[in-house]
Symmetry: C2
Subunit: 731 residues, 2 copies
């Protein structure tokens, strides 16, 4: 196959730059609202380099984002003809505003894999003008095809290449494979949608309903007159009509049209909404209102799917899929109305759901890179200690699902410096929240102490060490470089020093043998000895379920926890879908799918019965009416489309269809289907090699897979699943 040229950049820099654009799009009642944590920048000057071996001289044409120079074998050239033979080609690019990026598509010389890049060439020149030295080169960053080949394929089918008119401000693309689609022009594709109905309250006031939660750019056609339009967005009808309290709004002066894309009916800023309330002031008027729905492209034929005998569960799966699609954007974000930020705790759940829906590995990698940003580390990921730990864990999980060793290689230096930061803040080997650290755990409806040394955080720390150790030894096995091996070995020994001691400490401090539960925290002062702090004996589900989930608890401990905590009605319930995710997974691990199905139907079904068209940030069945809309002390503070609300995607794919990798990238995998009370079910799980199809009723289960070495596990039976053969097992 002919090699295809792609735009290249310094790895991670595209995400750092795009992440700033992305996170800074949040607004609160018209004010911009950037994140609270450090935002980084791309390297403004980099050197791209490759070694070419040409049979004949070749002219090259340079497409570049930034000012640049070109050198062949170290000599600057203005005529771009590369002579025959072996040559070192370097292009140095400076771009302060957007990441330096390069595209060359000549017969032999093409940018893409095989190119490397440095942010410091570290060349030095002796008395005779001879250059010595060289910087640290790493493989370039570029958009690759997704592990399932999905993005490129989809894009060509669905997305709007070159449709600048349809996509405000740019061209939608993922693959960066032509001179006129450089990284700085990256935009998601859009398609036009119409409202399903409109209520006019007066000549100047009307309410549009788009039928369900949606996201994109409002289009105001035939705008005319003098005055302004006041536009109030609502995820609920109540919000759109409550002009004093709705979370997002636009004030659009008609004559200046400063909020419109020049020459288009389209507003600059994207918003999340179902309802839009518009007030006209002065003689302002317009003919029609539509929107451009903005979305991350995917290939339906390569996606996960699910149908079963329970219509409510089918609807839960579909609304979950729509919720995840809406929150899958340039990055996986939390909620599309309010935060629109990339959060590590939310993202790790999106990744897992995504492995069972779209398998968009490029978006996973973009999000992981974006969350980490650049050195120096000055704060936890998103300022939240738990979120730093999830970040480590998510990389190992990504590897389990994709088998992508190159990404481990890419991220390792940044994992190492973040782990240095973690280690530098341990107190007696334990993770405690420093004054400026946010200790999140979960939003709870009951009081919960969050300072000092929490058992929950120690379990995440322990799992982070496990991820680091796994990744370090995986890279060790995949490198021949003796110096790198030495470094990796040093790291391994260092992390072992901490991780080895941790389990005993956790048990000693927090496990109450008599009660058979993990207790909540030591309330020590920052940096003080733990013995100075009181033991907080509160019992919550959080540390207890993670002890099971992360395989920390012994079987004996786990069974005790199940009984005394997870199935104990006296322990305060979890009220966010965020932690419901882990709670349900824990129950599934112990074969309690039947209970989980009941809980999904009650909890997610409950939201559906409240009229949800996407799943919420938080749901409390006790609340009534507009109480459901409030959060953070604001009447419409709650996000009604929140990624973590989509967890049934993962629970169903992983624990009902029962599909999961055993060796990285599904090289080996298992299928452990569980009906959990359903009459029948059928679905697809996407993998790097295609799909695994599972169909089950009470009599039989059938599996078909496009690749990999599978095992169908039913009870104590294990049946081999060869690639591309249908295997049926009858009970």
């Amino acid at each position: 196959m002919e090699k295809k040229a792609t735009w290249i950049w310094y790895p991670g820099d595209f995400e750092v730059w795009l992440g700033n654009r992305f996170n800074n799009r949040r607004t609160e009642r018209g004010s911009m609202f950037p994140p609270f944590w450090k935002q980084d920048s791309h390297w403004p000057t980099v050197v791209f380099a490759t070694t070419v071996q040409l049979e004949q001289a070749e002219d090259i044409r340079i497409f570049c984002e930034g000012q640049y120079n070109v050198a062949i074998d170290g000599s600057l050239k203005s005529m771009l003809n590369v002579p025959a033979g072996k040559h070192r080609l370097t292009v140095k690019v400076w771009n302060q505003a957007t990441p330096p990026a390069l595209f060359i598509d000549s017969p032999t010389i093409k940018t893409g894999e095989g190119w490397e890049v440095t942010f410091e060439d570290k060349i030095w020149i002796d008395e005779n003008g001879v250059a010595h030295g060289s910087g640290i080169y790493v493989p370039v960053g570029h958009a690759s095809e997704r592990a399932d080949g999905c993005a490129a394929a989809t894009l060509r089918g669905v997305a709007h290449y070159g449709c600048a008119a349809a996509t405000p401000g740019g061209i939608a693309h993922y693959t960066f494979d032509s001179p006129d689609t450089p990284p700085s022009k990256f935009r998601l594709p859009t398609k036009p949608l119409r409202p399903v109905c409109c209520d006019s309250f007066s000549t100047s006031s009307s309410l549009y309903d788009f039928g369900r939660e949606t996201f994109g750019f409002l289009c105001i056609h035939g705008l005319r007159g003098e005055g302004l339009l006041r536009i109030y967005y609502g995820e609920s009808r109540e919000e759109a009509l409550d002009h004093d309290h709705c979370e997002t709004l636009d004030v659009c002066p008609v004559s200046r049209a400063s909020c419109m894309v020049p020459g288009q009916p389209t507003l600059h800023g994207s918003k999340a909404f179902r309802y839009v309330s518009i007030e006209k002031e002065g003689t302002a008027d317009f003919d029609d209102l539509t929107m451009l729905y903005e979305y991350a492209p995917f290939a339906p034929e390569k996606s996960g799917s699910f149908r079963c005998s329970d219509d409510e569960l089918n609807r839960i799966w579909e609304v979950s899929a729509y919720t995840l699609d809406l929150t899958t954007r340039e990055f996986f974000c939390d909620g599309i109305k309010r935060d629109r930020w990339v959060w590590s705790g939310d993202a790790i759940q999106s990744y897992l759901m995504n492995y069972y829906l779209r398998f968009d590995t490029e978006c996973v990698k973009r999000t992981i890179r974006q969350l980490r940003g650049k050195d120096p580390v000055t704060t936890h990921v998103n300022t939240i200690m738990d979120y730093t730990f999830y970040w480590f864990i998510s990389i190992w999980q990504y590897y389990e699902y994709t088998g992508d060793v190159a990404f481990l290689h890419e991220m390792f230096p940044k994992m190492k410096t973040l782990m240095d930061f973690v280690l530098s803040r341990l107190n007696n080997g334990l993770a405690e929240g420093k004054a400026d650290d946010w200790i999140f755990v979960d939003w709870t409806d009951f009081p919960m102490h969050k300072r000092g040394t929490l058992c929950f955080e120690q379990l995440l720390l322990w799992k982070s060490f496990e991820a680091m150790l796994n990744i370090t030894s995986t890279i060790y096995q995949h490198t021949d470089n003796a110096k790198e091996k030495e470094l990796l070995n040093d790291c391994l020994n260092r992390y072992l020093l901490f991780s080895d001691r941790l389990p005993a400490k956790i048990r000693e401090l927090f496990y109450d043998k008599k009660e058979g539960v993990f207790l909540h925290a030591i309330e020590n002062e920052e940096g003080e000895d733990l013995s100075s702090g009181e033991l907080n004996r509160q019992v919550t589900k959080f540390p207890n379920m993670f002890a099971i989930l992360y395989n920390f608890a012994t079987t004996e401990e786990a069974l005790s926890i199940l009984k005394n905590v997870l199935l104990n009605p006296d322990v305060p319930p979890i009220t966010t879908p965020y932690m419901r995710f882990y709670e349900l997974e824990t129950l599934c691990k112990y074969g309690l799918q039947q209970q989980v199905l009941r809980e999904m139907k009650s909890y997610w079904g409950g939201m559906l019965r409240e009229g949800a068209t996407s799943f919420w940030e938080k749901y409390n069945p006790e609340e009534k009416g507009t109480e459901h809309l409030a959060m953070y002390g604001r009447p419409y503070g709650k996000s009604l489309c929140h990624a973590w609300g989509a967890s049934p995607l993962y629970i169903i794919g992983r624990y009902f269809l029962g599909v999961g990798p055993v060796k990285p990238g599904y090289e080996e995998y298992e299928v452990r289907p569980v009906l959990g009370g359903l009459e029948w079910m059928e679905g697809d799980v996407p993998t790097p090699f295609g799909k695994i199809h599972v169909k089950m009723d009470k009599k039989s289960v059938t599996v078909h897979s496009d690749g990999g070495q599978g095992k169908l596990i039913v009870g104590e039976k294990s049946i081999d699943i060869p690639a591309n053969e249908k295997v049926t097992f009858y009970f």
Copy 2:
């Protein structure tokens, strides 16, 4: 005095951003030529904050470079009225392309001192929407008036405020004190100059001579026709006429005029030249050629001066002053034709000369900040190990001349991380060059080993420790913060651990007691034990003169070095003005001004006799004709206007006029005038409080000072110099 509003930004970020623009202006025969080392970026999102106490409510108007939001006491505001009482005002700004910057000039609320800034507000929000936490705030960066009040004063007198037409692409300013002079528009002022003569070789070919070395933008008036102008620049006539080898050139298409500032006759790119050769192609023609001379503003009445009985020395001083003025730009750079980069080794000399010429403290601070860039440290300053050491030393020297404690506070965190980098690379406590480190020392005409462990580098390391220790204890004395004191104390102890052991090691390894000289190097392999390397017994002036200069050598050692090395004709001579600087200073420290005067007249006088109008990068009296122009294997590779060529400014001010600070900022100072063979001399030395005037002949010496507590030291006599009184001493 009423407080004046100034633009504010994150400290150091203006310099980082401006430094990239500055360093990337280098071209080599038309190709851009950025530096070899890491270029950093400003923080793209920062929060500016201040606490205000208002007697009555006040409207504020925000001028901002970037998108922003405003909050009062943590609540976002769209109406900018600050109510009466005590309030926390924060402005969050995002700007990817240029540093986020803010200007508010309301009756009471004005940006400037008293504002602080962070790149991570680290706020976190609890269940009730209550915000907690806060990032690390530091005092904002802003252009202050120079220690001598010079820049602001000058600017108002001389510089071209608002003269956008005269200054290509922007407005010249230093003080950033109005809404329309934001940091991103910073440009040096310019003034028009005409060539002194023109040779026409044909209708299409001519050579312009501007009479002496100059710098700026060529202006081509009345450009017309079709075709192009080829413009070849030369610091020498030979270079401008050698179209195949001149270092800089412009190719200017007439019809597209892409190299011209729109609507102006002015070329985009500034160049250094005396001669300009122009070739017209096609029907291209023009009426007239002039230039805009670009310069750093200064106040002549507040500058240093020197006159004496020796006309050649007067001319040396004047050409030195012109050389330093030409190389004093946005930053102190090395040479204006070729590198145009900021180099730490060159800069530390410019700083010292500048303390005796313009006392431009803002340019010193800008340069120090620019050189350091941002964390993480991945390489030595300019990739050169010696240059890292000079960077540390230059900050202590800056403090000695200015007494500016605030700058020590500002730089300390970055000194600490750079010192961590240095310490992490020591081998057995000694500084050795790692594979990618440039070990510069000097350009020599004799072979000199530069790998392994050089005695020269250890002396610079030792002096760096001294600077770090001095600075750490100075800050310690100026802070009341117990936590900061504890950190500083830890640092002190850490540095002492290294520095205490160093002198004995240096002597043991390198000092030959029998010969009474410091030997050159241990030729060990990187990271190997020193005993594995052979002792290189070469004797050069470099380590020996620094042992004296940095007060490392005992009196006995110093006298032996003077005799056996510095005054020994068998030791190879130094051929760059760079190291001549230190050599002459060393001789002056031992009262050898008479010999130094002879050497200045021979060496710098030699360049004048060769026709120099500014001083060169290197001068070898043995060379003839165009040999003087060549360097780095290129016929015009040598810079004919190089900052380090201006060292007589420092030698004369410090060791002939004899003026220097004894306590930081000239709070106490000494005048030790030495005629050194002159009949008479007279001059001014600028200080933070004004000037110190010294006049001396063989009969008497008279001193007058605008401030400080001075001592006139003549032989063994010491006479007090009260401020504002003329003191005369008769021999």
